[in-house]
Symmetry: C2
Subunit: 432 residues, 2 copies
C-alpha cells in the first residue's frame, strides 16, 4: 500500500452554492459540473439521483421511472478529461457515479461518499430549502455514539446501536430528554440514518433553529442475523440470502422494547413515559415500527411509517413451514416488483417469535383504543410500496383509526426519507 505523505486535501462535502475548488463544482446558479480524468476510457457516462427518470417500466405494483444515464463529453483541448454540466439543480443532497465503459465507479476526485448496501455512491449537497437541513453548519453539535448493548437475539451477546445525544446533553446534567427510535430499511444498518440519512445534521440544525426541542435519537441495527454494520460484527452470516426474511420473523420486534428501549432508559437520561417515546422506520423499519408499536400499545405515543413495507410474510395465521413463507414471499414479490432471494431450506426455531405478528387486528384495536398521540404515514406517489400503504390505510380507515397522512411525490429513496424525518420531527412530543 502506497501512502503519500504531505499530499492532498481532504475537502468538505457540504458545499454551498459558491464555486469550490473540488469535485463536483457547484456554480452560483446551482448548475453542477462533473469532471473525470481518464486516458483510456471510450465512453464515460454519469448516473445520479438528480437525473430525471424518464423511461417508464410497468410492474404489478404500478408504473415507475427507470434510471437514465447522461453521456459525459471529452474536453476538446484535453482528450483525457470528461465533463458534464447539469442544469440548475434545486437544493438537495444528491448521489452519483461515473459509468466508465459500462462500469459504475465513485468519483475519484470527491472524498464524500455513502454506502448503499455494497455500493459506494459519491454525493454533494446544494444548500437551500431542502439541502440546508443536511449541511454541516457552525451550530452546536450533538454527540454521535456507537454503542453495544446486551442482547439475547440469535445467541449474540451484544448488538450495536447509534445514539445521538443533543448538544445540551452534557451541560444540562439534571435534564432528561424524550427519545425517538429511528429504524433503517432492508440493506441498511445502524450507520444508515447518520450517514445516508444525515440525521445528526438534521437534528443539529433543527435544534439550533428552535424548530424542535432537544431529544435523544436511537438508531439500532434492525437485521436479525447481524449485530452490527459490515466490518464491525464478530458474526458470520450463514444464510445471506435469508437475511431479510430472518428480519421479518418477529425477532427484532420481540426484543425491541426489553433490549433496546430497556438499555436506553437505563443508560441515558431518557424520559420514561409514553408521551416521551417515538418510533419511526423506513421500509423494512416501517414494518418493524408497525409491529413494535402494536405489540406495545402503552409504550409509544408517536409512530412514524416512512415508505413502510406494511405486509409481514407470516400474516395472522401462523406460518409453520418454509414453503408457506415462500408462497407469501412470491406473492409479495409479484405484487411489488421486489427482487429477493429467500430461504431455500431449513426450519429450525426461526418461528419462535411469530406471535408478534399474530392477532394483529386485535392488537391494532387495543393500540388505537389507548390512542397514540400521532400515527403518521408518509409515502411517495412513485414508491413501489404505495399500494401496500393504500391497503394499510384502508384498513385503518375502515375502523376509523386516526392517522396523519403525508403523501409526497418521489419514490422509495433517501431523498424522501430525509424529508419525512424533517417533517416528522416537529410533530413530536407535543403532549408531554
Amino acid at each position: 500500500m502506497r501512502h503519500i505523505i504531505l499530499t492532498t486535501l481532504l475537502l468538505s462535502c457540504t458545499v454551498g452554492v459558491l464555486a469550490q475548488p473540488q469535485e463536483p463544482r457547484i456554480e452560483p446558479d446551482g448548475r453542477v459540473t462533473f469532471v473525470y480524468a481518464d486516458d483510456t476510457a471510450s465512453i464515460v457516462q454519469l448516473k445520479g439521483s438528480f437525473i430525471p427518470k424518464k423511461k417508464k417500466i410497468k410492474t404489478p405494483a404500478g408504473t415507475f421511472g427507470r434510471e437514465q444515464v447522461y453521456d459525459m463529453q471529452r474536453l476538446p483541448a484535453d482528450s483525457t478529461t470528461w465533463t458534464f454540466t447539469s442544469e440548475a439543480l434545486p437544493s438537495e443532497m444528491y448521489t452519483y457515479r461515473f459509468v466508465v465503459d459500462g462500469r459504475p465507479i465513485a468519483d475519484p476526485a470527491n472524498p464524500c461518499f455513502v454506502r448503499d448496501v455494497k455500493d459506494t455512491l459519491s454525493y454533494f449537497i446544494i444548500d437551500g430549502e431542502t439541502g440546508g437541513y443536511y449541511m454541516d453548519r457552525d451550530v452546536p453539535h450533538g454527540k454521535v455514539e456507537r454503542v453495544w448493548y446486551p442482547s439475547t437475539m440469535n445467541n449474540m451477546a451484544q448488538r450495536r446501536m447509534t445514539v445521538y445525544t443533543p448538544p445540551t446533553y452534557d451541560e444540562a446534567e439534571q435534564d432528561s430528554f424524550p427519545v425517538l427510535y429511528l429504524l433503517h430499511g432492508s440493506g441498511g444498518d445502524e450507520t444508515s440514518w447518520t450517514d445516508y440519512g444525515r440525521a445528526a445534521q438534521i437534528l443539529d440544525n433543527m435544534i439550533a433553529a428552535g424548530t424542535i426541542e432537544p431529544l435523544i435519537v436511537v438508531m439500532p441495527n434492525g437485521n436479525a442475523s447481524l449485530d452490527a454494520a459490515p466490518g464491525e460484527s464478530p458474526y458470520q452470516q450463514s444464510e445471506p440470502s435469508a437475511l431479510n426474511i430472518t428480519s421479518m420473523l418477529g425477532k427484532i420486534e420481540y426484543a425491541f422494547v426489553p433490549e433496546v428501549v430497556g438499555y436506553v432508559e437505563q443508560h441515558y437520561r431518557a424520559r420514561q413515559s409514553k408521551a416521551a417515546r417515538a418510533i419511526a422506520g423506513l421500509s423494512l423499519g416501517g414494518l418493524q415500527t408497525i409491529y413494535i408499536s402494536a405489540n406495545n400499545p402503552d409504550t409509544f405515543d408517536y409512530v412514524g411509517l416512512f415508505s413502510a413495507q406494511t405486509t409481514n410474510l407470516l400474516t395472522s395465521k401462523r406460518a409453520k413451514t418454509i414453503s408457506n413463507i415462500r408462497n407469501k414471499a412470491v406473492n409479495l414479490m409479484n405484487m411489488t416488483g421486489f427482487q429477493f432471494d429467500f430461504l431455500s431450506g431449513g426450519k429450525a426455531d426461526k418461528f419462535s417469535h411469530v406471535q408478534i405478528y399474530e392477532d394483529f387486528e386485535t392488537k391494532l384495536a387495543v393500540q388505537f383504543h389507548i390512542k397514540p398521540y400521532l400515527y403518521y404515514i408518509a409515502v411517495g406517489e412513485e414508491d413501489f410500496v404505495l399500494k401496500l400503504n393504500n391497503d394499510f390505510r384502508k384498513k385503518l380507515d375502515e375502523k376509523n383509526y386516526p392517522y396523519v397522512y403525508h403523501p409526497t411525490d418521489g419514490a422509495h429513496t433517501w431523498e424522501n426519507w430525509r424529508k419525512y424525518l424533517v417533517d416528522f420531527l416537529p410533530r413530536l412530543f407535543k403532549n408531554e
Copy 2:
C-alpha cells in the same frame, strides 16, 4: 436511485480462516480467492497489501519496493468471471483493489472497505497472531463517540474528535481512567484510527485478554484547516494544496493541551496526572506528538512516535516568508521522495504559532530533565522516514536522552501502525 428491498446480504468482514459465503473467500489454509464478475473487461488485475513489493525504486531517502499487480484469470467455463487465488497468507488485515482495464476499483462483492485519503480500499482480515487483534470478537465492547469540542483554531467554533471509552466506563461510575491521545497522519482525520487502524477492536480485544488495563483513547482531527472528516465539516478548504503545510505551522500543537486535553479532562472521567497521560501519533501525527510533548514537558509521561515525520518545516530559526517554507519543503521532498503541493502565495497570520517549533533543543532538554516514563520510537526498515528517524535518534543519543527503539520491517503503512499500537499499549501507565 434504485433501492431494492429484501435484497442482499450485509456480511461480516472480519472473516476467520473458515471458508465463507462472501468475497474474498479465505481457505482453511490461509489462501485467499478473489472473484470479480465483468462481461466487458479485457484485463483484470489485482493490487493489494499482501502482494510482495518486488521492483525496487531509488529515492534520496533510500531504496524501496514498488507496488506490483497480479493478473487475474478468466474462469474457463465462464468468460465473465475473473479469479485469483493467493498463496497462504499470514494473519493480517489486508487491503486490495481490482484493476479493471487499468482502473482501480473496490471489490463490488465485498461490503468492507476503508477510506485512504480519497480512495476506497476493500479489506479482509485473516485471524491469528496479528489479525486476531483486529477481528471483531464476542467480547465486551467499548463505546466509540464522535464528539465536537470548542476550539479557537482558525475561527472554527468547534472541532471533532473520536473518543473510545472502555467497556467498564458506564458501569464503574466511580472510576477514573488514564488517557491515550492518538494522532493520525497526513491525509487522515478523526476517523482514521478507528476505521483503518481498527483501534476499537484492538482495545476491546486487549482489554478483554487482560493484556492492558481499561483506558480512554482520544483521536482528534489533526488537520489545522479542517475541523472534521469529509462530509462532516461546515468549512470549506480554501487552500486545499496548503492543507498539510498549515498543519505544520504549530497551530495543532499550540492548541492541543488547552483545547483537546482540557475538554477531555472536563467531560470524561480522565485521571489528571502526567503518569496517566500518553500521546502517540503516526507520521504527521508523530511530528505533532514530538512538539506537543516537548512544549508541555509536565503533561505526558508516555510519548509514542510511529513512523514519525520528525522534521518541522520551520526549524528553530523562525521562517518569516512563504519562500522560506517552500525551500524547506523542497528539501524535505528531495530527501524523502514525498510528493506534495504547497503554498503558492499568501502570508497572513499563519505563523502566529511557530514559537511551538522554536528553541526545540532547550525544550527537549527540559522534557528529558523532567523525564517522560517512556519515549518510544517505532519505524520500519523500508519506511521513507527511516533516515529522518535515525537523524532524530542520533540527536537523542548525543544527549543521552533515553528512549525505547522498536525497529521493524515494513514501510510507511497501516500494517505497521496497527502493530505499533499493539506493541505500545501494554507499555503504558506502569508508573501510576
